[in-house]
Symmetry: C2
Subunit: 295 residues, 2 copies
C-alpha cells in the first residue's frame, strides 16, 4: 500500500474515533488539532512497522491513531503562552487561539487518556497481555521519562540562556541530543515499537528498531531545524526563522548549516543500513527517509 493510502485511512479513522458529545467544546478542541491536515508520519510508521511483521491493518489502526492523538496533545500544550507561545500550527491558529487557554489545557489532558482508551476499546482481539505491553510503551513515551522530559529540558535551557547563564558548546551539544532524543525520538520509537509488538516482533528485532527509530527521530529534527532556517511560511505553516530570532538552541545554530546537512545525510544512511542489514523490506520507510533529506 502507498503512503497516501495509509494517510487517508488514518485521517478517516481519526475522524471516526473522536465523536463530538457533551460538553461539545472539549471534543471540538481535541478534534481541531488532531484533524489538522498533516503528514501522519507517526501513524504511518506504526502501521508500516506492524505490516513488516505480518499484522493486519485493522489490528494496528487504533494504536496508530492513538499515537497521532498523543502527538497532537504535545502540540497543543507546547503552543500554550506559558510554553513556546506559538500562535500558529500547520498554518492555522493554534488551539488556544481558537478555543481558550483553559480549553486547550484540558483538551491536551483529555487526549493523553483518550488515546490509550481508543486502543483498549478497539483492539480487544490483541489480547490482554499485548494490550498491557502497549500501555507500558505508551506511558513511557508520553510521560516524565519521555516527551515531557524533553520539553522540560528545552524550557530550562531557554531560561538559563535568557538569564545569561554561561553554557559551554559541549553542554549545549549534550542538551540538544537529549531534546531530539526525547521530543521527537520518543514518539517515533513508540510508533515503530508498538507496530512491531502488534505484529509479534521478537526482542532482538525490537532492539534494532529502537535504534532505527532514535536515529530517524534525530534526523527528522535536524531536517526540521534546517527547514526552519531556509523555508517560507507557506512551506512550513508557521513563522520561519522564529527559532533563530529567538536565539533558540537548534542543530543549525550550534553546528552551522553545512555540518547539519552532512550529519543528516549520515544518519539517513545509517537508517538505510539498519533496514537492509536486518532484512526489513519497506518501501514506506524508504520513502520517509528520502523525504526527510532536504539538501
Amino acid at each position: 500500500m502507498q503512503m497516501k493510502a495509509y494517510i487517508e485511512i488514518v485521517d478517516k479513522k481519526l475522524d471516526e474515533y473522536i465523536p463530538v458529545s457533551y460538553p461539545e467544546d472539549i471534543f471540538k478542541s481535541m478534534r481541531y488539532t488532531v484533524l489538522l491536515p498533516g503528514k501522519r508520519l507517526r501513524p504511518v510508521m506504526c502501521i508500516e512497522s506492524a505490516r513488516m511483521f505480518g499484522a493486519d491493518l485493522e489490528d494496528v489502526l487504533p494504536a496508530a491513531c492513538a499515537i497521532e492523538m498523543l502527538h497532537a496533545q504535545t502540540l497543543i500544550h507546547d503552543d500554550l503562552p506559558c510554553m513556546d507561545n506559538d500562535d500558529f500550527r500547520r498554518g492555522k491558529p493554534s488551539n488556544h487561539k481558537v478555543f481558550s487557554e483553559a480549553i486547550a489545557v484540558l483538551a491536551g489532558d483529555a487526549l493523553l487518556t483518550f488515546a490509550p482508551q481508543i486502543i483498549l476499546k478497539n483492539s480487544k482481539n490483541l489480547g490482554s497481555e499485548k494490550l498491557v505491553r502497549i500501555m507500558e510503551e505508551y506511558f513511557q513515551a508520553a510521560g516524565a521519562y519521555g516527551v515531557i522530559a524533553g520539553q522540560v529540558v528545552d524550557i530550562e535551557n531557554e531560561r538559563k540562556q535568557s538569564e545569561g547563564e554561561r553554557i559551554t558548546k559541549d553542554e549545549h551539544s549534550e542538551i540538544l541530543h537529549y531534546l531530539h532524543l526525547h521530543k521527537t525520538g520518543d514518539l517515533f520509537r513508540l510508533a515503530i515499537r508498538t507496530g512491531a509488538i502488534i505484529g509479534g516482533a521478537d526482542e532482538k528485532a525490537l532492539k534494532t528498531l529502537t535504534v532505527f527509530a532514535e536515529k530517524l527521530g534525530i534526523a527528522f529534527q535536524i531536517a526540521d531545524d534546517i527547514l526552519d532556517e531556509e523555508a517560507t511560511f507557506e512551506e512550513i505553516g508557521k513563522t520561519p526563522g522564529k527559532d533563530k530570532i529567538a536565539g533558540k538552541l537548534t542543530y543549525t545554530s550550534l553546528y552551522g548549516i553545512n555540518k547539519a546537512k552532512k550529519d543528516l545525510n549520515s544518519l539517513l544512511d545509517e537508517c538505510r543500513k539498519i533496514l537492509s542489514d536486518n532484512g526489513f523490506k519497506s518501501e514506506i520507510f524508504e520513502e520517509i527517509l528520502s523525504k526527510i533529506k532536504k539538501d
Copy 2:
C-alpha cells in the same frame, strides 16, 4: 486497620513511587502537590473497598496511590491562572507559584500517565486481564468523559455568567449536579470501583458501589460548599468565601445553607443504607460518612 494507619502507608508509598531523577524539576513539581499533607480520601476508599472483597493491602496500594496522583493532577491544572487561578492549595502556594506555569502544566501532564504506569509496574500479580480492566476505569474517570467534562462545564458556566447570559434555576440545578457528579464523583467512583475490582467483586456489587460512590461524591461536594462559606483560612487551607465572592455556582448559593445541610444529611443516610442493605461492613466508610457531616 484504622484510617490513620491507611493514610500513613499511602503517604510512605507516594513518596517511594516518585523518585527524583533527571530532569529534576518535573519530578519535584509532581512530588510537591502529590505529597502536600491531605486526607488521602480517595486512596483510603480504594484500599477499604478492596479490603471489603478480601484483597491484600499490597495488591491495592499501587492503584490507591495512582488515584491520589490523578487527584493531584486535577488540582495542579485547576489552580492554573487560565483555570481557577488559585494561589493556594492546602495552605501552601499552588504548584505554578512554586515552580512555573510551564512546569505546572507539564507536571500535570506527567502525572496523568505516571499514575497508571505505577499500577502496571507494581501490580503484575493482578494479571493482565484485571490490569486492562483497571486501565479502562482509569481512562474513563480521568478523561473527557470524566473529571475533565466536569471542569469544562464549570468553566463554560462561569463564562456564561460573566457574560450576563440568562440561566434559569432549573438549568443551574442541572449544571451543578453534573459538576458534582464529574468533578468529585468520578474519582470517588474510580477509587471505590478499582478497589472492588482488585478484590474480585461481581458486577452486581460494582453497580451498587457505583451508586454509593456517586452519592458520596455529591455529599462531599455539598459539604465542601458549606465549608467554603463557613470556615476560616486555617481550617480549609485556602481563601474562604472565595466562591461566594466570585459569584460561583455552589450548592449553598443555589439552594441556601439550610437546604444544603438537609440534603447533605439525606445523602449521607442513603449512603449508610446502601452499606447496610448490601452487607458491606466497613468502619472506615462509616468514619468517612460521619466526618463529612458538618452541621
